[in-house]
């Protein structure tokens, strides 16, 4: 391609990126709010379908609302799939997920143009995906669409999940006409690109992150049960205060971090549902979510053991019942080495700096890599700000990522080696 054609493609990407960033824009910030199956999510989905169709893609939706754009250039063959998610957290950045979806579309546009420009290239089938509800803010769990697609979560369970107002996934998708009957595609390989949710690439001056592993994680939902009482008159020693128990565990989770070397353990509680949550009433029930994450399996299991002890100690001391309602965990877990090396080759060829990085957060690719050959890529994020309206990645890095992803797709499809 000539430089002028590249400049035009880049300009088109940035134009589309501006349009996409307008959906659910949070006034006075660069951020967005478009939680899964919200009105803003519905609007961006329609916009995205129109964009894909204008480039010759066929757009389909499956039963959990995953949105696919198909470019069938080798009828009957499996597809190279690429994508991420358009849904966001509340008052979130505009890059998380959405960049990966639009970059995937534009990388496919570039690959398709290659085939038109060079008839000697062997064409293959390309598909873009916008996975439903990666964030898990409105409907839990996160990575819902890719979990159903990979058989890790049942469709029935996912559709029946309700938000805090009692609206089910089924109802929310139907209200947007985004629940479909598409059977899905036969996938030969998968690629995803995302902004790094950390600052290491930014600090090291690296443009392409070659994701080689995901941190181990242990996530659980606890239900703490106390006894509703008057919070003024009830004697302190007779209280069974679920919110006090919850607070002790939030503090315990934070203090756990300092028992390990710096950087080896992340802990968090960001969600708590308190009942009756009323002034002058001792809380009778708190549901809350905890995450423990580590790049080391030993640290993760030691931290889990210590946290379990803290749960027992709080239950005993504060006379509350603490039940583990749900938990799931994954080991520190590699991405396929072939994919890392393939992506490194593309970066070298394009003259882009690259380095191996781990992802602390899970992605839809964390599901896909267990099923098919998968490549996971990062572009840098200024100051590593994430899940915040101030999240920011420079235009040149966004564009480099699209270029790089296009190269990865052509190699995954076997048109280039």
């Amino acid at each position: 391609m000539t430089d002028s054609i590249n400049a035009s493609l880049d300009a088109k990407f940035l134009q589309d990126w501006m349009e996409l960033s307008s959906f659910g824009a949070v006034e006075g910030t660069g951020g967005v709010e478009r939680q899964a199956a919200s009105v803003a999510d519905g609007n961006q989905r329609k916009w995205f379908a129109t964009l894909l169709e204008s480039h010759g893609f066929r757009v389909e939706r499956d039963a959990i609302g995953n949105q696919f754009g198909l470019l069938e250039m080798a009828p009957g063959q499996p597809f190279v799939l690429t994508g991420s998610h358009l849904d966001s957290q509340p008052t979130a950045g505009r890059f998380d997920g959405a960049y990966g979806v639009l970059a995937s579309a534009h990388a496919c546009f570039r690959a398709a143009r290659k085939f038109r420009d060079d008839p000697s290239l062997k064409p293959f089938n390309l598909a873009v995906v916008n996975w439903f509800n990666e964030e898990g803010s409105r409907f839990k769990p996160s990575m819902m669409g890719s979990s159903v697609f990979t058989g890790k979560l049942s469709l029935e369970e996912a559709l029946a999940t309700t938000d805090s107002r009692g609206v089910s996934v089924h109802e929310a998708l139907d209200s947007l006409q985004e629940r479909g009957i598409f059977d899905g595609v036969d996938v030969s390989s998968y690629a995803e690109i995302h902004v790094q949710q950390g600052r290491s690439m930014e600090e090291d001056g690296i443009t392409i992150g070659l994701v080689d592993a995901v941190w181990g994680a242990h996530k659980f939902e606890l239900r703490i049960t106390g006894e509703q009482a008057h919070s003024g008159s009830t004697l302190m020693e007779e209280r069974s205060d679920a919110l006090l128990g919850a607070a002790r565990l939030v503090v315990a989770a934070r203090e756990l971090v300092d028992q390990f070397d710096p950087g080896l353990l992340h802990t968090a509680c960001g969600y708590m549902n308190i009942y009756p949550n009323s002034p002058v009433v001792v809380a009778s029930e708190v549901q809350l979510l905890f995450d423990l994450r580590s790049p080391s399996s030993d640290v993760l299991s030691a931290a889990y053991k210590k946290f379990t002890e803290a749960i027992h100690e709080v239950g005993r001391r504060d006379r509350v019942d603490i039940l583990t309602v749900a938990e799931h965990s994954w080991e520190q877990n590699p991405y396929p080495e072939d994919g890392v090396e393939l992506a490194r080759g593309v970066a070298n060829e394009l003259g882009l700096t690259s380095e191996r990085v781990m992802t602390i957060a899970g992605h839809d690719s964390t599901n896909m890599k267990d099923k098919v050959p998968t490549v996971m890529l990062f572009v840098p994020s200024v100051d590593g700000i994430s899940h915040n309206v101030n999240e920011y990645t420079r235009d040149e890095d966004l564009i480099a990522g699209v270029d790089h992803l296009a190269g990865v797709l052509l190699r995954l499809g076997g048109s280039l080696v």
Copy 2:
């Protein structure tokens, strides 16, 4: 009165009590849920108005939804007012407030009968009041109706207050047709009866509690501001976690109690509003309410000082901003001694055991006693359970309270001495 007439009045009270307890009944429990200006509150208000009218009362509503039943037997003279509140906390007991309102009505019925039976008694004006929103669970602050009535809170501010869904007091009252234009009554004295929210009377075998003081209290609303971030990937030392700050303060408030002699300090946090309250997101803001209460002014001010230090320490250590949005406090505070002695005389005359008690919780009488001669009475509560569906007071104690309150009203009105 003869025993058979008394038995019939008692039976009528218990029948009305059963009917009243059916509004907002929580299935499978003896409790109720009828928060201020809810549908259940509207229904019980209509029932109560009909009851009063059937006994010859004129029913009026003022601009903040206080419901008055007027029995004008001495035209142009001021009124002896008696009442409490029908609104409840979520999943609350059926006695808190509601007993006081129905006991007031029946005490007035008994007083009115006295006048009919004994033409030598000098009649006076009697009024029953159902104060709006004593609990403060749906609309803050608590004791809203009596605070507006006594000029401690402006009507405009109270009407503009919104619940968590953005519905204002003004709108909620209008939807029930419970916002009126009544100017209020000229009150000569006030009496209120309530179930004790503690177990001391039960343990001491006492039927009538002569409330002689209210504990001191310091209540405040804090807003903790952190920085929204990805709760997996953000480095621990870079986080500014509002929920962690909130949890540290909940623990600090509990630990404060142990720095004083047993029973001298109660602390509580029962309400927390977390934003964005989403999995995998560090909270950027938490609003929460704290109460410190003590029967000793010295303890209360020492505890307040220590808690203020804890606020500064948490802000510094966890890098969060902590703002005191609102606070109000009252000193340990006596009820009029004349009223205590008047109530003791009535108990002696009726052969009921009585003792002086303090109230830890505030009541509408806490507002009224600053304006007019006021008597505050308790009946015992089994195990002192409060703000809980298992709250329970025996029928014989309920009835003794009605009898006693009727005697108090006749003395406050000057018909008996």
